[in-house]
């Protein structure tokens, strides 16, 4: 499956109170166009998506926070997944869409294939942690377990490269913040 196809599936698993933090590049654009608005669409700050999600999760304990990020972003901010596993907020869910590429900037390779994600995630303090190929047959089952898990959870999906032709995010970041603050109240 491609990243946006996984994002399309997520539709059925989140409600209007939940907060999604999406990462730099195509992923934010896809989340903006495909899922309910508003969410925390990050445009820059590569590597900081998990930390932003953690900051929201520790303050808004009754709200599910779903971070959707790419392998490039994960690798740049590798410490954040460790910090999250240390605090393991039960409302924080991390979805890694791994195409082994910096797809947004032209498909250059990342070093993500050097990680055995089953072993790596296995070593972290999380109540649900699975690494898989994203496939039509199992995606619904995987997302159900991942998003409905009672504790801190991590899902790493190997995806195929590919994007939908989508226009830019039309809201200025300041407007994103305004809408998020309104959603929180």
């Amino acid at each position: 499956m491609k990243g946006y196809e996984v994002i399309e599936k997520i539709k059925g698993y989140i409600n209007e109170r939940d907060m999604i933090v999406s990462s730099t590049g195509n992923i934010s654009r896809e989340v903006f166009h495909i899922l309910d608005q508003p969410q925390v669409y990050l445009r820059g700050s590569l590597g900081l998506q998990i930390s932003v999600g953690l900051g929201i999760a520790i303050e808004e304990k009754k709200r599910k926070v779903l971070v959707i990020l790419g392998d490039g972003s994960l690798l740049m901010g590798m410490g954040s997944i460790i910090t999250s596993s240390y605090y393991k907020p039960s409302n924080l869910k991390i979805l890694i869409l791994d195409n082994a590429k910096y797809f947004t900037t032209g498909g250059q390779k990342t070093v993500s294939s050097a990680i055995n994600f089953t072993k790596f995630l296995g070593s972290l303090e999380a109540s649900f942690k699975i690494s898989k190929n994203a496939s039509e047959e199992s995606i619904n089952q995987d997302l159900t377990k991942f998003i409905n898990s009672k504790g801190f959870s991590i899902l790493h999906l190997k995806i195929e490269s590919g994007k939908k032709a989508l226009s830019n995010i039309t809201w200025h970041p300041e407007e994103i913040t305004k809408r998020i603050k309104k959603k929180i109240i």
Binding site: V21, V40, L42, R43, G44, S45, L46, G47, L48, Q49, I50, S51, V52, G53, L54, G55, I56, A57, I58, E59, E60, G77, G79, S80, I82, T83, Y86, Y87, P173, E174, I176, T177, I180, K181, I184, I185
Partner: protein
């Protein structure tokens, strides 16, 4: 030698100004504060979240700010070199206020620590280049300075910085 700002009063001041979270990466200039925070302080009032990098701490504080709450980030000025993108493409761009508490290393008391000397020289230029208003925290005037910094932070809805020299927050 002037006195040091007691950790107790410093944290109380943050409580009174509705800070919910403190996060960052340590510097020995904050030793007393961080010790007090973890050993004696009731973290139901202000939570302490450890970070692995300074930009991660700014990310956490940004998440806190998205929820309409406020965080303070502590870092050594060496870590200023790690937060350029976190400020410009996240906290400043999205209008997320936070207080940066930055140790001012590389001045005279650090003359035997060459690792701090170059950043010590450029710290204020660096903050100016990053369009981040800053104040130097001093014992005699710390409360007024912090009030002004917090007022500016709220007005701009953006990060502001306090520079902390040796002996101001810890012996």
């Amino acid at each position: 030698m002037s006195e040091i700002i007691t950790s107790n009063l410093f944290l109380k001041f943050l409580e009174e100004n509705n800070f919910s979270t403190i996060t960052g990466v340590p510097c020995s200039y904050f030793k007393d504060l961080l010790m007090y925070l973890d050993k004696e302080y009731d973290q139901k009032k202000i939570k302490h979240i450890l970070a692995t990098r300074e930009d991660e701490a700014v990310g956490i504080a940004s998440g806190v700010a998205f929820t309409n709450r406020k965080a303070i980030v502590y870092l050594q000025n060496s870590g200023l070199g790690n937060i350029g993108d976190a400020l410009t493409s996240l906290a400043q761009l999205y209008k997320l206020p936070m207080l940066l508490l930055i140790s001012y290393r590389g001045l005279l008391p650090d003359k035997d620590f060459p690792e701090h000397s170059i950043m010590g020289e450029v710290t204020e230029d660096f903050l100016r280049a990053l369009k981040t208003p800053y104040w130097i925290l001093e014992y005699e005037t710390w409360q007024e300075t912090m009030k002004e910094a917090i007022y500016t932070m709220e007005k701009l809805q953006s990060p502001v910085a306090l520079l902390v020299k040796k002996g101001v927050l810890s012996l």
